[in-house]
Subunit: 721 residues, 2 copies
């Protein structure tokens, strides 16, 4: 641990520089007398950490984020294409230039690329569909007519098909939507269904449609969700123009993510691979995405009854569910190929606990240019790597290892992160402190976060230490004031039960999944959110970001600061700044949420004891936290105890991991959170899903497993004292 | 009181006839042994009443409702026009033909007719607006190009104006909408505002706009509320086509309804009249209604910021609030004239209590053809008059007088009913039992009712006695099952606090107002509701009703039965079937609703005692009701007591009337309910409005007034025992 000679002087300089550069540094980062250290820090360490953070915040530059994004969005870079190889190399070279120990982690995985996509109304008249997105001169890069992958509207992994079938409109394609059509006397078997995006992940829609014998899917972006109904459309505003198309994989990664040919193990050279036909996550029916313009051609011609309440979108006529007379011809051909993907892994080795790792996680593959998704996150990570690399050279090195992990093929099935997590499961289980995932970093200015309850206090304190670029006040203040913004990417879930600003539950949809749900590493996923209707379309480019998302790149910079402050606190704290009590409170609340689903007698016998155990855990957590606070006041006297406490705290989330996993998807081993086909988080998934199936024996077993996990966690907390 | 010779036989015949005619008579109307009489009936009277009701239900014919509606909708019949004189005569002649004592009650009142209505966008380019509604060959009567009144889009009473001003879009024109524009830095002074209909009464929108210095109003029907967003549009479905225009008065009758020149007294010959300039209810700024097509011409050209959340409608582009560059030229010229209106009053005199009156209330003037509004109600009333008239001739005469009141000029400012109520205030106060108002009787099949809590039990029992035409089960069952349907006419208010199906609070917007809010006569307002988007447009004609609203006129017939059963129960009960306990419960709940608006100390000191008094009233009501039930078991022994109890019960709602009225609108004398500018009911208006204004002295005074009213009511209930 290196203490700088003159932290106070350095901070004054920082403040002056910040003022000159237009950056408002918060008082929290200046050495006010009597200021309390954040959670996990002794006064002594905090003196150093404070200076470290101040330097970090001072050095971050918006202009460099802009330059990175400019490069990253110069050409389409779908995973496995030459465009993305160029992006991987750019990241690797920069990591190395910044002084990180950096390398590729390569895997051979099954990817897919479009060869032919056609859709046409063939009755009552012929109308061509599946048009390419119109180019606009304002952003010349929107002309991708020359690019064999980028110009087609496609959903990766959709199987080859040549179908001619009647079409029905099925709203969002949720279970209740299909049920509703059946109640109306309509047959889904053998039909093509037209679905709108949102209210669930496209893989979930396909999974549900397959169950109902649907033959094929057209999925489109209704202007109600991401177009003119929400606000100005590109190029006048950030929302999707009627011609935009949302690409994306169609894969059932809520069953098991990662390379479809190596479910549960790493796709290293020589690893066993299953045949694609054996994969449970590859869809059996084709799905093709349409623009609102194309969907409108269908919808305005559909007969049958008018749609039920809640099914109408924002196209200017009454929607109908169809009567079998409108037929569509759908052709989908994709090349599925084993391809090399390249995660870029950079490290700043920890000075004191090199095997304890703080993971910063982002991906670099995009459907087209991916300025928001994932470019804004990648640019932010590169900026943070530069600053932390530079500070390391100046002697400010983290006590624990900071890993910059930039994944490949996230867009397919969280592929790069999953393979890496599976390959390095053992060292990760042993030493990973947390995974801080930033996918899209910036589409606006509304801070939004999903996280393990363990990280609640860290998030609150870090957002109090970083300034919102518009207000100059802490990010926390604005976040606490704002009603949670509608999350256009479909991640958002119910707020955590804790008081304070809403921290959502971790569902799925980004690279934290293997770390959180498979390995039990405390994780979060955060962004600055905003109006954003061009997700996975050709319009999500540099011009969009420079006009709407973050014209001055100040929220990129704010995210680099926030991400960095969180990383440093986790890397440098005397005691890992986790909040077990928040976890216990959340668990008690989740048990209560199950009450309406269970018979009172069952609840009293099997679930109430879990709730009681959660309350016991909360009490143990409070007692332990009090003890730890006392030790922190005199850390030298308690060096051994603190070291042992850290090892226990680091393992705490692992107590909720069960090696056998969930009954229907053993890869998902976390007993408290699991994704649903909808992207959303299912809390207490084992019990909840058994209750849904009315399998009471299983529900009782799952309750017992959870209760044992809670007892384990309590024992571990007790052992700290 | 006449007891028929063979009620059982008559009922068997009824059942047989009903079966043949496809009408399902309910078991409740057949003489099941051990069946309990409805509230207020002794066994003895119920035997006779049951037969009376069975005959009523059996005699009602859907086909005759259809014939009446056919005539009523043959030509436009705005109040004061020759078309409406013809309708008045038709009703009078039929009442007389049916054996009612019938006559006109005429008043000279200020009405208005359009002379010239023009609206045009003049910058950035010229576009004509305020187009007439397009005719459609499916209903040739939709061509009204020859009719000087019907063909213009106009809002009655709008003052003459010739304006050229910049336009802003202000959503629904609610107070919060105007506030929002001001927060955006926009000036309302001198502007024309474009507002959408719904979320409030058009008079309320104008009232609010006037307060903000707005120069003129264009008000339009967005397809989101009553057009293609809701469902199929006319002529394919019941919703409004994009070219439809909602006419209607623009008048501040929430301050005082009725003829603007005689506020508070009857417009009889020789009565004092104020000058129009002195009227507080005539608007100072013009309002002109537009179709969605015309509004779209404006909205698609408006600049400025995109609209806030919740302001976007269903036209296919992003709405903007305006930037002052789009200007509109607006010309409105109306002829305001003193005109004779004609209420048609028909009576069947009561055999035992001729001075006690049950009022059946409906109006006959329409903006154009008014098939739903008010034709469906008028046709239903005519059918009920025929059946009750015929039964009276056969010896089934009601014990109390039944008054068939068919009002004129309701559409202007509840004019006909208000003038009559003011003229006959004394006999009404003395003898009116209740006002059963049916304005639009039928636009679908969903029963919907607003009512005084006193009538709760009557409503429940009557709906249990009449069959829903589609299900054959009691209207009550379907009503209780259904979620309350969206009320497209804007009346709907929060549900009553009582358990059971939702009975809404009486706001304003139809002819019960003078009886309920001015005189304290227990009232209800009911309809069979349904998808209906052509309100006050040329498309609300016979063809609409025959295609969508009630093709077989079975809901007209059901309403005639329901209205008749309610009337007969009120007319024939031994004890008026009121439920004072429901009133007390509602009052206690209303006091609680004020809790969040008041400081805890103020609440404890001034409002909690009112709540306590409500609970006392509930206890008194329960004790009295128990006593009354005992007396009913032996009515002959308690004839005097029952008579005195009826007199007290008849006056009970009057206890909530205060002669001085509400502080800001003394005509409104009911202390528990008053309309708001939004059409909605404000409960405990005196207290609530004082709290809004933070006038605590007034709030305390109003609380005291209410408490005294409750004490009065309790004393009167106690006196019964």
């Amino acid at each position: 641990m290196t203490l700088p000679a003159g932290p106070v002087k350095a901070l004054r300089l920082a403040a002056a520089l910040a003022l000159l550069g237009g950056v408002v540094l918060l008082e929290a980062t200046s050495p006010a007398p009597g200021e309390k250290p954040p959670t996990g820090f002794s006064e002594h360490t905090w003196t150093w950490e404070k200076a470290f953070e101040a330097k970090l915040q001072e050095r971050v530059e918006a202009a460099r984020c802009r330059e990175h994004l400019r490069f990253l969005t110069r050409q389409p870079h779908t995973a496995g294409t030459p465009g993305n190889f160029r992006v991987s190399q750019y990241i690797l070279e920069h990591f190395r230039e910044y002084g990180l120990e950096a390398e590729f982690a390569e895997y051979d995985v099954l990817l897919a690329y479009p060869e032919e996509v056609r859709a046409e109304i063939v009755a009552p008249e012929r109308v061509g569909l599946a048009q390419a997105e119109p180019a606009h001169p304002l952003d010349p890069l929107t002309d991708v007519s020359h690019d064999p992958v980028a110009h087609l509207p496609w959903n990766a992994y959709s199987p080859d098909a040549d179908l001619d079938a009647p079409l029905l409109y099925a709203n969002y394609g949720r279970p209740e939507d299909f049920r509703r059509l059946q109640e109306m006397g309509l047959t889904l078997e053998g039909k093509i269904v037209l679905l709108r995006y949102f209210e669930g992940y496209r893989g979930g829609k396909s999974y549900e449609a397959e169950k109902h014998g649907v033959a094929g899917i057209l999925v489109y972006s209704d202007p109600m969700e991401d177009g003119y109904f929400q606000g100005e459309v590109w190029p006048e505003g950030p929302w999707g123009p009627p011609g935009h198309v949302q690409r994306g994989a169609n894969v059932y990664d809520f069953l098991v993510p990662g390379d479809p040919l190596t479910p549960g193990w790493a796709s290293t050279p020589g690893a066993r691979r299953i045949a694609p036909e054996e994969s449970s996550i590859l869809p059996k029916i084709p799905m093709v995405p349409l623009s609102a313009v194309d969907a409108g051609e269908i919808l305005r011609r559909l007969g049958g009854p008018a749609v039920p309440t809640g099914w109408q979108g924002a196209l200017p006529f009454t929607y109908h569910v169809g009567d079998g007379r409108l037929r569509v011809h759908l052709v989908n051909r994709q090349r599925r190929v084993r391809t090399t993907i390249r995660n870029v892994i950079g490290k700043i080795r920890g000075t004191e606990f090199p095997d304890q790792m703080v993971l910063l996680s982002n991906h670099h593959d995009a459907w087209v240019y991916g300025a928001v998704d994932p470019g804004s996150g990648t640019a932010t990570m590169l900026e943070l790597a530069q600053v932390l690399g530079q500070l390391a050279r100046e002697g400010y090195r983290p006590r624990r290892t900071v890993v910059f992990a930039n994944w490949d093929a996230e867009e397919y099935t969280l592929t790069g992160s999953t393979e890496w997590g599976e390959q390095f499961a053992e060292p990760l289980r042993a030493g990973a402190v947390a995974c801080l995932n930033v996918d899209a970093a910036t589409s606006g200015s509304d801070f939004s976060v999903s996280a393990s309850p363990l990280l609640r206090r860290l998030i609150v304190e870090a957002t109090q230490a970083v300034a919102d670029p518009q207000t100059g006040q802490p990010v926390y203040d604005r976040w606490a004031q704002a009603a949670s913004s509608p999350n256009v990417r479909g991640y958002a879930t119910g707020a955590a039960p804790a008081a304070g600003p809403p921290i959502a539950r971790l569902g799925s949809g980004s690279d934290y999944t293997v770390f959180y749900n498979h390995l039990g590493i405390p994780s979060l996923d955060m962004l600055f959110d905003g109006p954003y209707g061009v997700y996975h379309s050709v319009y999500d480019g540099f011009v969009w970001m420079a006009r709407f998302g973050d014209p001055e790149f100040r929220y990129h910079a704010a995210m680099a600061r926030l991400w960095g402050v969180m990383a440093l606190r986790l890397a440098n704290a005397d005691l890992l700044p986790f909040e077990p009590e928040a976890y216990a409170e959340a668990l008690a609340a989740y048990v209560e949420e199950l009450r309406p689903q269970a018979e009172p007698e069952f609840f009293a016998r099997h679930l109430a004891p879990v709730g009681d155990e959660a309350h016991k855990l909360a009490r143990a957590a409070r007692r332990t936290q009090a003890r730890l606070r006392r030790w922190l006041r005199n850390p030298n006297a308690h060096r051994t105890e603190l070291g042992r406490a850290n090892e226990r705290l680091l393992q705490l989330e692992r107590d909720f991991i069960h090696p056998e996993g969930l009954p229907d998807r053993p890869w998902f081993k976390h007993l408290v959170y699991a994704p649903r086909p909808s992207y959303r988080a299912q809390v207490l998934p084992g019990i909840a899903e058994a209750l849904e199936k009315k399998d009471m024996a299983r529900a009782a077993r799952e309750a017992r497993r959870l209760q044992q996990a809670l007892e384990r966690a309590r024992k571990h907390l007790d052992e700290i004292r």
